[in-house]
Symmetry: C2
Subunit: 333 residues, 2 copies
DNA sequence: TTGCGAAATGACAACGTTGTCATTTCGTTA
DNA sequence: TAACGAAATGACAACGTTGTCATTTCGCAA
């Protein structure tokens, strides 16, 4: 029946003006007489006109979209996406998203190749695990690329939580309160977050001349923390435990109590992510919280700032915050 | 220095063939002689050619992108996005995403207006709370629109978890095991999930001629569940509690135990979302789990299926699953 | 009323692809 | 070798915008 798509030309004819005038009504309304503008608006309304994105971007040479590649989509990612999306809105960009498929092994080059076929002016890679071509990857020269990852990249801008710093902060918090050593419960081996948190823990201890004990391997879930806690309960020198997330920290605490020990009187515990209070009433767990939302905002801003100079390179670290509750005992007191 | 963008024409000249041949190499390689194809490929490589999305979609009249509007971006959304994204990949679509900004009040009409300026062939609205224009909204006639929401919509296709059914299932699970009544702890008032779960709970009780007791108001977090638990501990007729999520269910359980009651011996509890095991070691909580990932997949498939007939309308319910642990006592035994 | 500069409007090309249809080249058969 | 049909390739228009530059209209002063 109707023509499939209403074009500016159709509107122009209906309003009795030229094509260009319709264009002006949309892009620089002040340059059009009010009476003309009204005619055009009525015509647009009547015909149900919607500007054609493809034609517009073809002419303008840009899309107003930022690509986001999720190599890994997990719980913490929500706040980050939220930050990215909000910052994008604010700056007038939309997001174009693709995801690594389950099982598939995606390289940075592959991600860049796919993204560059899509409507994007720049892109953000959210990388939570190592990929094969990390060091050799070169971003397209005309497409600003920001990688969210704790590792430094030779050519691309990167943005990351300061996970290492957060872990150091937690350790120093223990040490400054008279603890002589800190045990560590890690997350999944392949997780970069877990690796960085472990690195920070090691560094903090070594900086004080303390030999780090063997870390206990966990898998992020409470049961693995519980298992670790059972082991730790038998170590007489264990007064402080840093767990790579809150769930495992809770597992540790429950195990310690099941073994007749008190938190924090016998053993102090710190976790990461500050989310235990959502699930445990009256939670006492002190925790290092990262500002994922802020991270997303920074990443997006970095892309937008680099649109004109895609080859620029920067490194942004977003610091963590220690949310203090009562799971750490001050031994000096 | 270089021309900003390398076009198919540049490639054609470099390869000594016509523009159209380059086009064919990309879109129907089999129709091009191998020797020619190689020349073209080399030229593309040498010049760093990347097809222009805008021009291509302008000509084709479609984008290969599905729009996703997140009215609310919360924890459970991750799995859903994951499902949407995976299904999109599989069918050769990318996602274009926008988000309601914090504080902003977005209507369906507003969301549709913004989406229709973007490169999308169809769209998905993820709606977790009521919006003002829900009943009056009409989707653009040429843009298939699917709304993820438990409410029926007069003109758009909808997809939803069967939250009401899940709640009914949990109640019947109690009742079939000899419980004479079920108390309910709700989530935030404005949440549609909470409303539906409450509705299912009511319906299940009324179907058996049981007068539903006054529901207890929670806010999704454990502390509100704890408060509810303290109240429930004093009700002698309370043997079964359905909490609108696992966190509150845990709060309830802790409160009951603090009051000297045992779960499940004195009081049985069921939650929603089956995520407590991540945070609590040896979790015993029976829980209704929704398949968010499946939900996302269905939503995307529904959009794609409707691309040719945007005005078609369907309603999809994805059933929940009761994950059985040991927090419910069989009173008949 | 006329003339003038500024404001408003219009004609046309261009962005980089793909579809249509015409033309050239190829491999086969007579 | 000529003739033929099929395969390969090419010329050109078109998609719906915006930029450039030309033209028309307007408001105001002389």
């Amino acid at each position: 029946m109707d023509k499939k798509n209403v074009s500016m030309n159709d509107v122009a004819v209906a309003a009795g003006v030229s094509l260009k005038t319709v264009s002006r009504v949309i892009n620089e309304p002040d340059s059009v007489r009010e009476s003309t503008r009204d005619k055009v608006h009525s015509a647009m309304e009547a015909l149900g006109f919607r500007a054609n994105f493809a034609a517009r971007s073809l002419k303008l040479g840009r899309y107003g979209c930022i690509g986001v590649v999720m190599f890994h989509l997990s719980g913490g990612a929500v706040d980050m996406i939220d930050g990215i999306a909000d910052a994008a809105e604010e700056r007038g960009f939309a997001l174009t998203m693709i995801k690594k498929r389950a099982g598939e092994k995606m390289t940075l080059a592959e991600a860049a190749r796919r993204m560059s076929q899509l409507p994007v002016d720049g892109m953000i890679f959210n990388l939570r695990q190592m990929v094969d071509d990390f060091d050799t990857f070169e971003a397209p020269k005309d497409l600003k690329t920001v990688i969210i990852t704790p590792m430094e990249h030779p050519t691309c801008s990167t943005v990351s939580d300061d996970q290492e710093g957060g872990a150091r902060m937690a350790c120093e918090y223990f040490l400054n309160r008279g603890h002589k050593n800190v045990y560590f419960v890690s997350g999944k081996k392949e997780s970069l977050s877990s690796q960085c948190r472990m690195k920070g823990w090691r560094a903090a201890l070594e900086a004080r001349g303390i030999e780090p004990p063997e870390p206990l391997q966990g898998d992020w879930n409470a049961d693995s923390g519980y298992a670790a806690g059972l082991v730790l309960a038998d170590k007489p020198d264990c007064t402080a435990v840093l767990a790579a997330n809150d769930c495992m920290a809770n597992g540790v605490m429950v195990a310690l109590r099941d073994k007749g020990l008190s938190v924090p009187d016998d053993v102090s515990v710190i976790g990461f992510d500050d989310e235990l209070y959502k699930t445990i009433p009256n939670s006492i767990l002190t925790s290092v919280k990262f500002r994922h939302r802020e991270l997303g905002i920074r990443a997006l801003n970095e892309v937008v700032a680099g649109l004109e100079a895609p080859s620029s390179r920067s490194r942004t670290l977003v610091s963590g915050v220690l949310v203090e509750r009562s799971s750490v005992k001050d031994l000096r007191a």
